[in-house]
């Protein structure tokens, strides 16, 4: 194994923040001059001016191997951007050390350095130079860049007349043709239509897989992170909360954001004739769990109390994946129920779901009218494949092998 291309050791970054006033965040000379005269009282200086040290990064260490795509996730203010700024040498760390074995190019926001008055053609050269390309390199790749961006018609129009989509496409096209050993990408996929986003993701995959470049990818688009990255680092308040295989880190992240908003979506109407009193997600041997391996059978056990006789009562369970796409819905047969408490068990034995984080929704209805609908669990299905080891599952669908294939020899 070769030495890692990025080696981050005990990285810290402190900022001094001011709580005073707050409208002007830069000092004027007068502030400083007047503070010289207060130097004798330096001890209460910090508190009197409302200064505070803010630790944007606390003791962050990790390593990245060449050719790896590392996702960096975390909520706003977790320190992602600070980390990237240090790695791309925009700002210095307060403590700690980073070793980079190769050139770094960063895309902190695409279109950095675009000048509105210049044409698309001129901006390709300007932006390329800012991102660290030589003129010869840009010339060589010019057609490719224009092709990728799809704005050749407007190449001689000032970019201030571009639509925001065209602007971003051109900017990303330039950036995508950089050839650094390490590429740092921050939230570039926020703009652009679906098709272009796909193109960008594809390009980034190419860059890492076939060209052996290392990519650090920061995004709130978890689907993109999952698709692109092999490993991920979860930052939380300046510390690394978890690092490892991308799906595990993502599930930790989704649990973190769940505990942050501990109120699952509720659609319950009070004084309904039926409601769920208890819900447990279990393995098939009745052990409660919230994470399963791919292909492992599972069940949901529901206790439902019915207070009025119902003519066509249905209990149902739905699964929604991380991208908010409903994956499957199962329901009981509509039936007459008298008052009382009932136990329903929904078992899933044969249909396999791909590794992902799923939200489990429970719904009760009578005669097609919703009585209750509520999100109960977050189910993590992890890509450990003892059962379906016969095939590779990267890039597979959400539902695995739902159809029964038969075959016969015809010749």
């Amino acid at each position: 194994m070769s030495s890692p291309i990025i080696q981050v050791e005990n990285l810290c970054k402190d900022y001094v923040i001011s709580h005073q006033g707050g409208t002007e965040n830069y000092q004027t000379l007068r502030d400083t001059v007047s503070s010289w005269f207060k130097k004798s009282k330096i001890k209460n200086h910090a508190s009197s001016r409302g200064l505070e040290i803010f630790h944007a990064l606390k003791d962050v260490s990790f390593e990245v191997q060449q050719g790896e795509v590392l996702g960096i996730i975390g909520r706003n203010g977790a320190g992602k951007s600070t980390l990237l700024k240090i790695l791309s040498r925009i700002t210095e760390p307060t403590h700690g050390k980073v070793r980079l074995r190769g050139r770094v190019a960063s895309l902190l926001e695409v279109g950095t350095g675009f000048h509105g008055e210049l044409t698309g053609r001129e901006n390709i050269f300007l932006n390329g130079a800012i991102l660290g390309m030589t003129r010869a390199e840009i010339k060589k790749k010019f057609d490719e860049i224009v092709d990728f961006s799809g704005v050749e018609k407007f190449l001689d129009t000032p970019v201030k007349r571009y639509s925001s989509g065209m602007y971003v496409r051109l900017a990303f096209a330039v950036a995508a043709h950089l050839e650094p050993e390490i590429l740092i990408v921050d939230e570039v996929l926020a703009v652009g239509d679906q098709e272009f986003q796909k193109k960008c993701l594809g390009k980034m995959k190419d860059v890492s897989a076939s060209e052996g470049r290392t990519v650090l990818f920061v995004s709130h688009n978890l689907a993109a992170v999952r698709q692109l990255c092999g490993r991920a680092v979860l930052l939380s308040q300046g510390c690394i909360e978890k690092q490892g295989v991308v799906s595990e880190v993502l599930s930790q992240y989704s649990q973190q954001s769940q505990s942050a908003s501990n109120h699952p979506a509720t659609y319950a109407i009070k004084s309904q004739p039926a409601h769920v009193t208890r819900a447990v997600l279990e393995r098939i041997d009745n052990r409660p769990t919230l994470s399963l391996r791919v292909g492992e059978p599972w069940q949901v056990r529901l206790n439902i109390q019915i207070d009025q006789p119902l003519s066509a009562f249905v209990a149902s369970i739905g699964l929604v994946n991380h991208a908010d796409i409903p994956v499957q819905t199962s329901w009981s047969t509509p039936q007459e129920f008298d008052c009382g408490t009932y136990e329903f068990i929904f078992t899933q034995e044969h249909v396999f779901l791909a590794a992902d984080t799923y939200r489990v929704l429970l719904g009760l209805s009578n005669n097609g009218r919703t009585l209750e609908q509520k999100e109960y669990f977050t189910l993590e299905i992890i890509p450990d494949l003892p059962i379906i080891s016969c095939m590779a599952t990267s890039g597979c669908g959400l539902i695995l092998n739902p159809m029964t294939p038969t075959f016969r020899r015809i010749q």
Binding site: M1, S3, T28, L29, R99, R103, T112, I130, T134
Partner: protein, 291 residues
């Protein structure tokens, strides 16, 4: 942390260079980096030049009109109203314009470099490059106006049928000196401007006052006669005194070589350059956090 086992193996030949980021580390390869980013320098200068007169009606006339009008007004006030003498047989207008040339260059260079970092804040906070490139490129841009002014000078010389001496060949030396004289204070001001926006107001003030503190509308000889030798030494500490007199020596060739003024100018220019670079380099690493 796991250490890779192959640590003892000597570096392979095509191993890419290793960059180490640490507090205070940025200084190591600074000047090499500056050279490596020379294309960026060129392209930033080119950007500023090409957007300069976009969406203006008069376009490049804006480079011609201000120095030309200033020259006329100064000639009227100092020659006609105040009755000051020119240098030797040179027409007063040409003497003024020979002083205007370096002064405009200095004022433009100082003004644009002083605001260059704040004006490029979006770049500073997003991409790494040696920050010296930004004020450097801003100063290079002022050369364009200088070249245009040279053309006006040629027209003036033809108009007055005044033939410059061969000394005009040494003009590039004085040109470089004027640029260096602007670079030192420019670096200082732009670095300070990042933290203290007060300096944004100081730059126009300096160039406004400096126009009268430097011998632009009159010759330095007149000043020496009025204030005496001792004070004149003080006066010549203004680096532009030496540069302007040097320009006049080149173009007009009517006065002796300004040894004293040039010597003092070199001293103050070097001093300002040293201070400017020191301040710039020591604050540079925090630009992205403060700007």
């Amino acid at each position: 942390m796991l250490k890779p086992s192959g640590k003892a193996i000597p570096k392979t030949l095509n191993q890419p260079e290793e960059i180490i980021i640490e507090r205070g580390r940025a200084a190591r390869h600074y000047w090499m980096d500056l050279w490596r980013y020379r294309e960026l320098f060129a392209i930033l200068a080119w950007r500023d030049i090409s957007v300069r007169y976009k969406q203006t009606v008069l376009g490049v006339l804006w480079a011609i009109l201000p120095p030309f009008l200033t020259m006329i007004i100064m000639t009227v006030i100092f020659a006609k109203v105040a009755g000051l003498p020119s240098q030797g047989s040179a027409p007063y207008a040409i003497m003024v314009f020979a002083g205007m040339l370096p002064w405009q260059l200095f004022a433009n260079a100082l003004g644009s470099s002083g605001n260059s970092l704040v004006g490029n804040a979006h770049l500073i906070s997003k991409v790494y490059f040696p920050r010296l490139i930004v004020p450097g490129a801003a100063i290079a841009v002022s050369l364009v106006d200088f070249v245009i002014s040279l053309a006006i000078l040629a027209v003036l010389l033809a108009w007055y049928q005044f033939l410059p001496s061969l000394q005009i060949l040494s003009l590039p030396f004085f040109l470089v000196l004027a640029l260096l004289a602007a670079l030192g204070p420019g670096l200082l001001l732009t670095a300070l401007n990042v933290t203290y926006r007060d300096f944004r107001f100081i730059v126009p003030f300096i160039t406004q006052l400096g126009l009268y503190l430097s011998p632009v509308g009159f010759s330095a000889e007149v000043v020496r006669e009025k204030i005496g030798g001792t004070f004149y030494l003080l006066y010549a500490l203004n680096p532009m005194v030496g540069v302007i007199e040097g320009f006049r020596w080149c173009i007009l060739g009517q006065s002796p070589f300004p040894t004293l003024e040039l010597g003092l100018s070199l001293v103050t220019t070097t001093l300002f350059l040293w201070i400017g670079i020191r301040v710039f380099r020591s604050t540079e690493k925090n630009f992205a956090d403060i700007i």
